[in-house]
């Protein structure tokens, strides 16, 4: 079976790739990902505010502790070698590029224009094959209109594309009023791929302590339906790469996304639960399924269940919703 696929023009040996997660903080893990058949790796996200916070911590400690007292010129050894800012992340890109052949995609989560531009430029220089931008933005300001929010996204993409030559993927949130049109506009702004979807970690309350709880849940396979819907709807209509990244627990979800039209399918939760070697299992199961179904390559079945390729495209639209509701009476 030919498992090869392309994503934003990058040649991949498998459509299964590792989404941004802390597993990629260690180069050894990235090597293991490739050894177990990952098509590519999206590195863990670089959060601009985290970098700023670290810079502030470092600068604060250095200034508070340097030459402040005659008996102690400083306190912590090695601060000269302490890399603040993006340097550590860039080092991770360089190390990963040295050790693996599969594409290494940097993931950037910025908050300022300056951050987006500066950091993406440096990521490209460090050798990243592509950049996935993670625009985690909740328009909490109720004075902000939908067009303003959309403009923000498009503006970031345009700026990035003017800054770097490598492909840029945009990891989206699912809450645009007109997701299809927005996807098209993002493509026109220069996006090379759309990634469905970013999971917003929504808060919970602790009613005894009166504090906000920010615990994290892994995605579940039941969550694939929304991205599945949008990939199936957009496949073939918006000419860029499509990536799926929610709820992938096994080869079953991989197959579903590919059937909907995804170029690549990303997973992290399954690796946290089952370990990195699980990539091999997923690839094998995908391979077995293709064999069973008689597909000898991925392109042979990609998108065959998308809206444009199935006999009843209304299944993806309002009619489908009514049918479902009627079905549960």
């Amino acid at each position: 079976m030919k498992m090869q696929t392309t994503y934003m023009g990058l040649e991949l040996n498998s459509p299964i790739i590792v989404s941004a997660c802390t597993l990629s903080e260690q180069t050894d893990n990235i090597v293991r990902m490739e050894d177990n058949g990952a098509g590519a790796v999206v590195l863990f996200s670089l959060f601009e505010e985290q970098i700023r916070k670290e810079e502030a911590l470092f600068n604060g400690v250095v200034s508070e502790t340097s030459y402040a007292f005659p008996e102690a010129m400083d306190y912590i050894p090695g601060l000269d070698d302490f890399k603040v800012g993006i340097d550590e992340y860039l080092e991770n890109i360089r190390k990963a590029k040295e050790k693996v052949d599969m594409p290494v995609i940097a993931s950037l989560n910025g908050i300022t224009n300056e951050g987006w531009i500066d950091y993406s430029k440096q990521m490209e220089q460090a050798g990243a094959d592509a950049i996935e931008v993670n625009i985690f933005f909740i328009p909490a300001d109720i004075a902000m209109s939908a067009p303003e929010v959309e403009h923000r996204y498009l503006n970031i993409i345009e700026n990035l594309k003017q800054t770097v030559k490598i492909p840029v993927a945009v990891k989206l949130n699912p809450y645009f009023s007109a997701m299809g049109n927005m996807s098209l506009r993002m493509k026109n702004a220069g996006a090379d791929a759309l990634v469905f979807f970013n999971r917003f970690y929504q808060p919970d309350f602790d009613i005894n302590e009166l504090i906000i709880k920010t615990d994290l849940h892994y995605s579940e396979s039941s969550e694939i339906r929304l991205p599945l819907l949008w990939i199936a709807l957009l496949y073939g209509k918006v000419k860029l790469s499509l990536a799926a990244t929610t709820g992938v627990q096994s080869a079953i979800e991989v197959i579903k996304y590919l059937l909907a039209g995804a170029d690549v399918v990303m997973t992290a939760s399954s690796l946290y639960k089952n370990g990195i070697p699980y990539l091999k299992t997923m690839n094998k199961e995908l391979n077995d399924w293709m064999h069973m179904m008689g597909f000898d390559n991925v392109d042979a079945f990609r998108g065959i269940m998308s809206q444009q390729n199935i006999s009843d495209p209304t299944a993806y639209e309002r009619g489908n919703y009514i049918k479902i509701l009627e079905g549960i009476r």
């Binding site: 810079e55 400690v61 402040a68 008996e71 890399k83 603040v84 500066d118 440096q122």
Partner: protein, 1191 residues
């Protein structure tokens, strides 16, 4: 042959010496002590980076538990043939003395590098003089003295070579701080040069003398009266040969480098009549002054002593001009009761012997004098006074210079106006704060100028004694010739004030020369600056025709993304204004330096700094000021009229920077000072202070509990008091039912606040309508300052609450106890001081504290003002610091006195029962003293007893009167850090615990040597970095709690006030109540951990929640009651260790410098946490009989 490829560097004396020592040794056994710590730190850092010695191997650098331990290790390594060294000072050298005798007696080649420092006598001093090395002069070590940074570098090599050749061990020393910390330009020795001085055959011979089972011998025998004496005399020829060997090595060195040294180096007139003899950095001052005096027609000279031991008569006589009529020997030491100071006696004996041998025709007039103790300034004016004294027919012997001794009249008068020609120098003074980057920027400036131009550079940095809001003064000189001026700048052509509020606090322009430039960092617009200056500053500017420049560096820093760091900006201003370098060239050099400094931090940081440099020039303005004074003068000496006379006359002088002018007669004779003087030093360190919101406050007392500086205090009182309250004094009904007439007030001592924010962080009460508003919030001080001063005055008149009516067992109750530890100089947000404050609140009026040297002894006992205070009855903690290593024994001694005198007092009471009345005596003897109410009653009884005894005349009555105070139960606490408890003082601590006596030990565990700059101790946890553990601590943290528990009869607690204040309070009280030894291990967050200390409480929570710091109590009383004495007070760990640890740079830095090791160590550390928890959990569920029974 001189070296054509000279490498110049601008480094300090410590680095200069360590640079060579590291390269010519295989083993360094180290231990931190100021001012030598840097040498050891550098050796450790270089080894961790794999830097090799001249033989291509990385020296083995090992930190020991004390200097005694380091000396033992050095001895052992030497005896087995390693080239071994150590670095130390002061008390450290004292601890090495026993081994030094052994090393010398066995003719073992080694060099100890010493940054010479005062010894603790009437008080400790970290500063420089020769008391320590003089105390080592009897050990048999040769002693070679460096007088400058270059010499510290050169003599490190000369000493080593001479030691290997002579087999005599050497102390190579230079003046602490003045040389160890002075940055100066020097020529570095290349590795090949060093190697050429150390022939292999000397190394082979050294190794061959080492112990080796392949050809065994015995060394270190015990000897008897028959041979010991002769044995001691066998070494004579080696000592006789040493001066000649040193001379040869110095000659070889001169051929190699062009730098010529002599054992006794004479300079001055060939026919000098007045000659001084001096050793160390002061010699440069004397030499330069001699040159100036001789130019004016005087015939003076000076002999600089390089090789002090063995003292060579032949070389000394050769150096001394035959014309010398009058000689002054200047000793930088004090030997009370001696016929004279050591070098004076050496010179005297030498000259008499030379006379007797006919090598001297006539004995000159010889006097001795003392100078420069504890880095006291030694200036050309003082030198001139010495030569003037020598001109007299009968010069004063045993004189002092530099002080005013108005008691025994030893001091010589001098004219401070006398100065050498300073016209070739550019001299700058920079006034800053410890944390504002001023010193760092100035060190950088020296590097730029020293290493990139032909100019010579010198930098010396003066710090005050506080750890929070400490002021720094940087003294920078540049000139075309080597700068030989080891004294402070008194006339500067450039003065920079990096903190605007200094204009009202610090005298700066008295040091300005006429026409000098004054650079002021000002938040005020340039048009308004003039009117913001106090009158006296305006007058000085006008009178001296000073050029005034201003810049709002803080705003420029913010606008250029420098996070408020002003160092680069102020440095750029200096280059732009001083003219030391052409402006364009200077800017180019600054940028080059920025690129070099921030290379590893990435282009962004470099760009930011470049931007700051460029913006600086656009924002720097010269002020055309009016030629008349427009503002009132402010009083720089602001001690309240209410202060005691001593504080007004003496302490205030020190506070204002005029301590040098205090005469001997004003000083206390035995190091005794009044308690509680910090209250008179309103330091106003923070612009932000807590503001109390009575309507939101739930009166929990948390803020008062955690405040490190005792700035927040609470009282409850009858509402009638409010009738006289000043306007704006805040109060609230007390939140206890049934007391409608009782009010509660929380008072913030705003002038003493350091702005740490812990009170806000701990406050649990928030405004339901505004979650950002708490019951206490930080806000601008200026608008409330005057109002709060009045409020404080009123609050102080409200009586402290009756201790017998306060519930001591709760944090809520503890807030009403008067703190008798207040306003210390500890760091803002200090994690140690809340424990000490609590100690003073709970037991203060009967408390004895033995305090180990370290942070707590510095913020607890460093002059000018000290924080241990007393209450309205005049009672309060009696505090003392002996040494670092002996504190447990010192405290145990206090307990023994208490026990002994109590026993005698009880015996005398019984003896006097007929006079005093049997029932009365019985009442005193049998009085319970557990509850506070009982202690109050006993205090009253003892007061009554003393009243009666005063009217009695019998010997027994008088003896009882002198000891009656002991009839109130004494609370003896042994306090110190982990460096003391886990390392240097552990043997004594262990013995004190084993003594069974009623002592209480409080270990303020910061997990590092905080005071000396963050060196690793045995309390440092696995995976953390620290100095001497730069690659991450691999071993585990010692479990001192379990060691103490193993005795069975020791009360043990591990507490963290930020995680569980109630448990900490309970443990303190239980420990004190327990009639036996107790130890409390108190988690103390610290600046050395590397994070913003406002998060200190949160980190304490995480330390406990992660299992790093399980809270526990082991109470032998429970064991006696047949209950499990081991109580685990914290729940099972709920978070990973790394989630606690990686909030701190001490852990985090390793993930950057060596991620693989960091990961491995963190996993190991987590395993250790898991294992420890498992053990504790098992102990907590065992039966009483599973534990050691208490006798």
């Amino acid at each position: 042959m001189s070296n054509k490829n000279k490498t110049v560097a601008t480094i300090d004396g410590n680095e200069a010496a360590a640079y060579v020592a590291y390269r010519i040794n295989e083993v360094c056994a180290i231990y931190p002590i100021t001012p030598s710590s840097t040498m050891a730190e550098l050796a450790d850092e270089w080894a961790s980076k794999g830097i090799k010695n001249i033989w291509g191997n990385v020296p083995d650098v090992i930190e020991m538990q004390s200097e005694g331990g380091a000396a033992g290790t050095v001895h052992g390594a030497l005896q087995t043939g390693s080239l071994t060294t150590t670095f130390t000072a002061s008390q450290g050298l004292m601890l090495m003395l026993p081994n030094m005798y052994k090393i010398a007696g066995e003719l073992t080649a080694t060099v100890f590098h010493v940054a010479a420092r005062s010894l603790a006598a009437q008080g400790l001093s970290i500063f420089g003089d020769h008391q320590d090395v003089m105390a080592a002069r009897t050990t048999g070590f040769a002693m070679l003295s460096s007088a400058s940074v270059q010499e510290a570098h050169d003599f490190a090599l000369i000493a080593q070579v001479a030691s290997l050749r002579s087999r005599i061990p050497f102390v190579h020393f230079f003046d602490g701080f003045r040389t160890s910390h002075e940055v100066n330009k020097l020529e570095l020795l290349g590795d090949e040069q060093i190697k050429s001085m150390v022939p292999d055959d000397l190394i082979f011979a050294h190794r061959k003398r080492g112990l080796n089972p392949d050809h065994p011998f015995i060394r270190g025998t015990a000897q008897n009266p028959d041979v010991y004496f002769q044995g001691r005399e066998t070494v004579n020829s080696f000592y006789n040969n040493t001066p000649g060997i040193v001379e040869e090595v110095m000659n070889d060195f001169a051929k190699l480098t062009g730098r010529k040294y002599e054992l006794f180096e004479y300079s001055g007139a060939a026919d000098a009549e007045e000659v001084t003899i001096i050793m160390g950095s002061g010699s440069e001052t004397v030499e330069e002054t001699v040159n100036a005096l001789n130019r004016s027609g005087r015939k003076t000279g000076v002999i600089v002593v390089r090789l002090y031991r063995p003292f060579s008569l032949a070389h000394f006589i050769k150096a001394l001009p035959a014309t010398a009529r009058s000689i002054a020997v200047l000793d930088r030491t004090k030997e009370s009761g001696a016929a004279g100071e050591p070098m004076y006696q050496d010179v005297l004996a030498t000259l008499v012997e030379a006379l007797q041998q006919g090598k001297l025709k006539k004995l000159p007039n010889i006097v001795g004098g003392r100078y420069g103790l504890s880095s006291k300034e030694f200036t050309p004016a003082m030198v001139k006074a010495v030569y003037d004294e020598l001109k007299k027919k009968q010069p004063k012997n045993g004189f002092t210079i530099g002080i005013n001794d108005d008691v025994t009249f030893t001091s010589l008068e001098y004219d401070p106006a006398f100065k050498l020609d300073e016209s070739e120098w550019r001299q700058g003074l920079f006034f800053g704060l410890g944390a504002d980057g001023t010193v760092g920027a100035n060190k950088n400036t020296i590097k730029i100028i020293g290493e990139n131009t032909d100019l010579f550079a010198q930098g010396y940095f003066v710090y005050d004694s506080k750890k929070s809001g400490a002021r720094t003064v940087s003294h920078l000189r540049f000139g075309p010739k080597p700068i030989r001026a080891p004294y402070l700048i008194s006339k500067a052509d450039f003065i920079a004030c990096h903190q605007f509020n200094f204009v009202e606090k610090v005298e700066m322009l008295e040091f300005a020369s006429d026409g000098a430039s004054f650079l002021l960092n000002s938040p005020h617009p340039k048009e308004e600056v003039w009117d913001k200056l106090p009158g006296q500053i305006q007058k000085q500017i006008i009178d001296k025709k000073i050029k005034l420049y201003v810049i709002d560096a803080t705003t420029v820093a913010k606008e250029t993304g420098m996070s408020g760091r002003i160092n680069t900006i102020m440095q750029t201003c200096y280059f732009a204004l001083s003219g030391v370098l052409p402006k364009e060239d200077a800017i180019k050099q600054i940028k080059k330096s920025i690129e070099k400094t921030y290379f590893k931090k990435g282009p962004k940081v470099i760009e930011q700094n470049f931007k700051a440099v460029d913006e600086t020039l656009a924002h720097l303005h010269e002020i055309n000021y009016p030629k008349k004074v427009s503002a009132a003068s402010v009083n720089l000496l602001t001690v309240s009229d209410k202060a005691p006379v001593f504080v007004k006359e003496v302490t205030a002088m020190m506070m204002s920077g005029h301590g040098d002018d205090i005469p001997v007669s004003k000083m206390t004779v035995d190091g005794t000072y009044p308690s509680g003087t910090t209250q008179w030093e309103k330091r106003n360190v923070s612009d932000l202070v807590p503001i109390w919101e009575p309507d939101l406050c739930i009166q929990c007392g948390n803020c008062a509990f955690v405040c490190p500086h005792s700035v927040i205090r609470a009282k409850f009182y009858n509402e009638k008091f409010l009738e006289k309250a000043p306007e704006g004094f805040q109060s609230a009904p007390i939140n206890a039912r049934g007391f409608p007439e009782t009010k509660y007030s929380l008072q913030v001592y705003v002038e003493d606040c350091t702005g740490c924010n812990l009170c806000v962080e701990v406050c649990p009460a928030t405004d339901p309508g505004n979650r950002n508003r708490k019951a206490i919030n930080m806000d601008e001080k200026e608008p409330v300052l005057e109002k709060e001063k009045k409020n404080i005055g009123f609050f102080e008149n409200i009586p402290w609450n009756d201790r017998s009516k306060i519930d001591f067992s709760t944090v809520h109750g503890a807030q009403f106890l008067e703190p008798l530890f207040e306003f210390s100089g500890a760091c803002a947000g200090c994690g140690e001081t809340p424990y000490l404050k609590l100690l003073s609140q709970l037991f203060g009026d009967r408390l004895l504290v033995a305090n180990a040297t370290g942070c707590s002894s510095i913020y607890g006992g460093n002059l000018p003002t000290t924080p241990w205070a007393k209450n309205k009855d005049g009672r309060g903690p009696a505090w003392s610091n002996s040494l670092f290593e002996d504190n447990a024994e010192f405290g145990l001694g206090m307990r023994i006195t208490a026990d002994k005198q109590l026993a005698v007092a009880r015996q005398l009471l019984l003896q006097l029962k007929d006079e005093l009345g049997e029932a009365y005596v019985k009442e005193i003897l049998d009085a319970p003293q557990t509850l506070e109410s009982e202690l109050v009653l006993q205090h009253q009884r003892v007061d009554g007893l003393k009243e009666k005894l005063r009217s009695m005349t019998s010997s027994a009555a008088l003896h009882l009167l002198s000891m009656a105070d002991q009839l109130v139960r004494r609370s003896v606490w042994l306090v110190g850090g982990d460096g003391w408890a886990y390392d240097i003082g552990y043997g004594g601590l262990d013995h004190a615990l084993a003594s069974g006596r009623n002592i209480n030990i409080l270990v303020l565990d910061t997990e590092v040597y905080s005071n000396t700059g963050g060196q690793s101790s045995k309390a440092t946890p696995t995976a953390a970095t620290a100095k001497f553990a730069a690659g991450g601590k691999t071993g585990g943290k010692k479990d001192l709690a379990m060691q103490a528990i193993s005795y069975g009869n020791v009360y043990v607690a591990r507490v963290a006030f930020g995680a569980n204040a109630q448990q900490a309070l309970l443990a303190m009280r239980e420990a004190e109540a327990y009639d036996g030894p107790s130890i409390i291990l108190a988690y103390s967050h610290c600046i050395a951990h590397g994070y913003d200390l406002k998060n200190g409480l949160d980190q304490q929570h995480k330390a406990v929640a992660s299992g790093h710091w399980p809270l526990l109590r082991y109470n032998p009383v429970l064991r006696k009651k047949n209950q499990n004495p081991f109580v685990l007070d914290s729940p099972r760990p709920s978070m990973a260790l790394k989630d606690y640890a990686y909030n701190e740079l001490r852990y985090k830095v390793l993930t950057m410098t060596n991620p693989e090791v960091a990961d491995k160590l963190m996993k190991h550390a987590q395993d250790l946490v898991n294992l420890k928890w498992k053990t504790y959990e098992e102990l907590a569920t065992k039966k009483a009989s599973d534990f050691v029974p208490v006798a």
